[in-house]
Amino acid sequence: MRGNRTGSEIDGGAETKGGGRAGYVWRRFRKNRLAMVGLAIIVLLIGVAIFADLIANYHDKVIKINIGIRHQAPSLAHFFGTDEFGRDIFARVVHGTRISLFVGLISVGIALFFGGGLGAVAGYYGGKIDTVIMRLLDVLLAIPVILLAITIIASLGVSIINLMIAVGVANIPGFARVVRGAVLGVKGNEFIEAAKAIGSPNYKIILAHVLPNCFAPIMVYATLKVATAIMATAGLSFIGLGVKPPTPEWGSMLSAGRGFIRDHVHEVFFPGLAIMMSVLSLNMIGDGLRDALDPRLK
């Protein structure tokens, strides 16, 4: 946290209270009620994802076809009802949490790694390297994210791996921009100059000194992007380009339930609610983090 001392005087004041900058941010974050609600929801969802097998048996409830109990309305035996194959929708939504969070995190990881790398190099070196990288990424930026993802899946073929690649690649230009901007802000600091003066190699300066100090904006952006990645995953599965049945993915559950909305609303209601809750909680956390890290507007 060396570099941040150069920041605002509020930081210094908070640091004397103890806990450092992270503690200060956390105290601000904690005061934001919406952000705390979001954090509670996402912790719950992560718990559900980890313990999905304890909550509902994958084989018996999630994928096993049971024609005798198809299209049942929500009840105590089946909290969210059953679908056209008699599968328990609650169990499927629970196991779907695993897939959505996993795909969301991995695809943002891909975008962060490649986009962040490109952005850091562009921002740190500047000049021609910067121009070339950013002009090329401008081309990618000229295609809406979902469209780029669809194009990539259409050519690679439909699978979970390709889905993560597509959503990840489609988000590369955004991450490159954000990281580049953050790097430009940090680059001018004296400690970077000092590191150069003692002869540290450039890659070391980027990894050890520049990027750790860009943590805040990248963190906010990544949180918000996990939300959009989850939404994109569900959307792509909804149009048949994401996760294929019988794997319990929220978007493909919606797509399957679509044919029965006249009589069985629960089959589309609950999977959609799950998408919304996870996206909403991440958006609340992202907003809260931004306000906590950048107190100008609030």
Binding site: R135, D138, A142, L147, T151, L297
Partner: protein, 315 residues
């Protein structure tokens, strides 16, 4: 001098468009599987497949194929659909107005709702209205459009019977898809308007205007909004692009005969020229919208205009 700026901005569009079309062309050409074999079906002989490959120019290197595609596009020829054997451009021309109509109606709904909400939220910061509005906006950007669409169908067409649940046969058909598509952009435009308004109303010149006795409404509309609108314009442009992308899902939910659905259907039919054509049209439309927004800036923000006038005068 403004014309000079507009012209320069239009020139900058071409390399981007070239890049976009090449990228999409390259990605789609990576698709595994022999297109000629796919068209001819399983009973085709190796010779006939080879012959068709030659006729379609599939044996040429990728840049040559791309060059040929580009040349065709300049004449308005986007290839022939594998599925219908008709020109891609005909189908796209027939469908594009529907997507455009939907996107335009959505953006009109969004802008008329979101800007007043954003302004009032900013003026009455932390009031009940502000809190409610911003929570609703947060929910709005978090709601999957395809789910919202289904819920609207359940409530308003299956339940109340007010609107048709799909198709484009009646004039009321467009209402539900337009609302579905517009919710997310309404929410994010409202959020942006609020935060840029908040920043502007703290400026000194607003206090000055108030101090010299300008009426409150006038201060907000004349002094604050004009400066706060610039970030909002950016978001409107971005959202319009998002709308085009979002149309893919919304059109699927409502069976709306636009380019989005055409693209999804074509992907499922493995109709590569049609997919390529739709993606290219989407991307071109997206770039044109961004261009229009950039040009609009120059009219709204006098700083950009004077910047160019100075440069012109110096020359």
């Amino acid at each position: 001098m403004l014309l000079h700026y507009v012209f320069k901005r239009i020139l900058m569009l071409f390399p981007v468009l070239l890049g976009v079309t090449f990228l999409v062309f390259a990605i789609i050409s990576l698709t595994p599987g022999d297109v000629a074999a796919m068209i001819l079906g399983q009973n085709a002989t190796t010779e006939s497949v080879g012959k068709l490959r030659g006729e379609m120019g599939l044996n040429d290197p990728l840049p040559v194929q791309y060059g040929r595609y580009l040349e065709g596009m300049l004449h308005g020829d986007m290839g022939t659909s594998y599925a219908t054997r008709k020109p891609v451009s005909d189908e796209i021309l027939a469908r594009f107005p529907n997507t455009l109509r939907l996107a335009i109606l959505s953006i009109i709904i969004s802008v008329t709702l979101s800007i007043p909400v954003g302004i009032v939220s900013a003026i009455k910061q932390y009031s009940l209205w502000d809190n409610m509005g911003m929570i609703l906006a947060l929910v709005g950007i978090s709601m999957p459009s395809f789910w919202l669409g289904l819920m609207l169908i359940i409530a308003f067409s299956l339940g109340l019977g007010w609107f048709p649940s799909g198709g484009a046969d009646k004039w009321t058909s467009i209402i539900l898809p337009a609302i579905t598509l517009g919710v997310a952009s309404t929410a994010s435009i409202a959020r942006t308007t609020r935060s840029s308004m908040l920043e502007v109303i703290r400026q000194d010149y607003i206090r000055t205007a108030k101090a010299k006795g300008v009426s409150k409404v006038k201060v907000i509309l004349r002094h604050a909004l004009r400066n706060a609108i610039i970030p909002t314009l950016t978001v409107i442009g971005l959202e319009f692009g998002e709308l085009l992308g979002g149309a893919i899902l919304t059109e699927t939910v409502f069976s709306w005969p636009g380019i989005g659905r055409l693209m999804v259907d074509s992907i499922q039919r493995k109709d590569t020229p049609m997919v390529l054509g739709s993606v290219v049209v989407f991307s071109v439309a997206f770039s044109l919208v961004n261009l229009a927004i950039d040009i609009l800036y120059a009219f709204v923000d006098p700083r950009i205009k004077t910047n160019y006038q100075k440069k012109g005068a110096a020359r």
